[in-house]
Symmetry: C2
Subunit: 369 residues, 2 copies
């Protein structure tokens, strides 16, 4: 039987889960003030990079990320069919370069670790790097090529998800959730209190509110891990008006610049997404001058040609992080209330896998198909 | 007799002339798409700095700038009375600092030149500079204090001018001017063709269109000097939300940073205006990543604390410059058509003087007072 499902949150996780739940036959309502836009996903770069994102000591997470990546091609194809929109899924691979010899040493350590986990990653000399990406600085110290680390256009993806949700008849409620109430012993399902004073009931409820989670009432007994905001600054740079020619970057470039990490992710229209800082500063969303300086400084050290691009946008987002940096997906201690959050740096990458897990959790409703 | 005067242009020059002409008894119409905002004046810093702006070889211009500065206090007082708005006129003076020994040598040369012109300017040691402005970098190499170089809040000023114009009954026509026609031999005055296809007549016409001048038809025989756009990038930085305490800068700070010039001008609300590049790139108004980087890089070298400010705005404007960098104010070769343009870096400073000159040119109409 189809369940009435309430999804709280309009980022990539909430939207992906809502869409897949509707496909599985559920009657879905999504509550978010501005679905797609009002989320960390909107300011993301859209990297799908389990190998490049490898962190020492987080082998189980790496396993999860690789599983997530394996789902992406089918997810993108299926979403493009459902929505009629291109999501900018791009398999051109990722190149990570080193700017100085210490950066080179750090990349070599990373490469050894990637190999120890069975990942495909190739050591590249400086000239091999520049053959792949001619706009790179001539002073670089070589790098790592990871052909299997891809990217997606995050904003195209969010637009396609909203469209696919609408096509599937999902109801959008453009409000905030003030509080959640668990399902009752008498069989009543969980409900939410909305910012306009009304209440919405359901059979199942999915919390996909990211860093908004701590601001929702009624979750004290839910048994959730702490979800803390990790702020990121990101820039969008575009070709100057009237400029034509090949794009500055034919693939995603990441770099270590004197120990600092940076990435530059191309979009089909020639825009580059440059990010990102990692700052634990509460929920402040202000764009700091020092962070913009740091990103521009490191980006132009890697690709000098960015000086001539236009600064289209300087934005910030709050990544939802758990204490062990691993997402939390499953039932909470509140009857009928599940959670899918804490995706930290990997919301885009893990959205297909998380959505599949949530569909399993709530049970498909094949009778309604 | 009161003349019907058409003012073309809504920057500080057009607005100041319009207001003063209306005060002199003329019947004024001001044509500009968005008075106050759609102008180089909107992105200006508002420095009133004849001494700090001294350029070798431009002694006559310096004389003009000093004459302009002498008019400012009365102009500000009179405008505040007329408009009921504070214009943020600030007499705290200007400090110019040197970041390295070459910068120090360059400032010493400038100081000698300032003294040779009879300007008041004092050599200051590094510790004297930091006593005046404690947020300055400890590594600076001293500077020059010019107590008579002041500043005004450019946006407050423009708002006050628009208000004063309205109070005086000036008619605003929010359109562009496509072409100008000279007054006829039969005694008909000059007229303009507007972007909506209509025509406006007048007794006198004042062109105060800045870098828009070359786009106006019918001026081929006006005998105007070439007015070229000199692009400037400017940043506005503000205190992070919720931060209190004394402002980062108690006065205007300018600096030579390894040969490059930068300025930081404080506003009463704690905002800093940081500028400005000088670029001859036609009429392109795009915000270049390289220019933003340069401004942030130099500003934080002078005042490290700007790293913690929010980047509120990155903007550009086009300064109208003549071949000799001196404004052109007077009658053109077209009957009834005058010009007030080419104020380059000094539109704010010269607005009171230019407005007075234009009132003299058109003649007061005391009979109507």
């Amino acid at each position: 039987m189809a369940a009435r499902v309430l999804v709280v949150g309009g980022g990539v996780i909430g939207l992906s889960c809502a869409w897949r739940l509707a496909e599985a036959g559920h009657e879905v309502t999504l509550v978010a003030p501005d679905p797609g836009r009002d989320s960390a996903s909107w300011v993301a770069a859209g990297m799908l990079a389990p190998v490049t994102e490898v962190q020492f000591g987080e082998a189980p997470l790496t396993e999860l990320l690789r599983e997530g990546a394996a789902r992406w091609k089918e997810f993108a194809t299926s979403l493009e069919r459902a929505s009629g929109h291109d999501v900018g899924y791009d398999e051109s691979g990722t190149l990570t370069v080193a700017l100085d010899t210490s950066d080179r040493a750090a990349l070599d350590q990373l490469l050894a670790y990637q190999h120890s986990l069975g990942c495909t990653a190739h050591r590249r000399t400086a000239s091999e790097c520049r053959a792949l990406v001619p706009s790179l600085t001539p002073t670089l110290r070589g790098g790592i090529e990871v052909p299997g680390d891809h990217h997606v256009d995050n904003r195209a993806l969010l637009g396609a998800l909203v469209q696919a949700c609408r096509t599937k008849g999902i109801r959008f409620v453009p409000l905030s959730v003030e509080a959640v109430a668990a399902g009752g012993a008498g069989g009543g399902g969980p409900s939410v209190d909305l910012s306009d004073g009304s209440r919405l009931g359901s059979d199942h409820l999915l919390l996909a509110a990211g860093t908004g989670t701590p601001h929702i009432g009624g979750l004290g007994a839910a048994g959730l891990p702490e979800i803390r905001p990790v702020k990121g600054h990101i820039l969008r740079l575009g070709p100057a008006e009237g400029r034509t020619g090949p794009p500055l970057l034919p693939r995603t470039v990441r770099a270590l610049v004197h120990g600092r990490s940076i990435y530059l992710v191309p979009r089909p229209d020639g825009t580059l997404v440059v990010g990102a800082t990692m700052e634990e500063r509460g929920t402040d969303l202000g764009v700091r001058a020092g962070a913009v300086h740091e990103l521009l400084c490191d980006a132009r050290a890697v690709v000098p040609g960015i000086d001539e691009l236009e600064l289209l946008e300087a934005g910030t987002g709050l990544r939802p992080a758990t204490p062990d940096n691993t997402p939390v997906v499953g039932w909470t201690a509140l009857a009928g209330v599940a959670v899918a959050s804490g995706h930290f740096r990997n919301g885009m990458l893990l959205a297909p896998l998380t959505a599949a897990a949530v569909v399993d959790l709530f049970g498909a409703a094949p009778g309604d198909e």
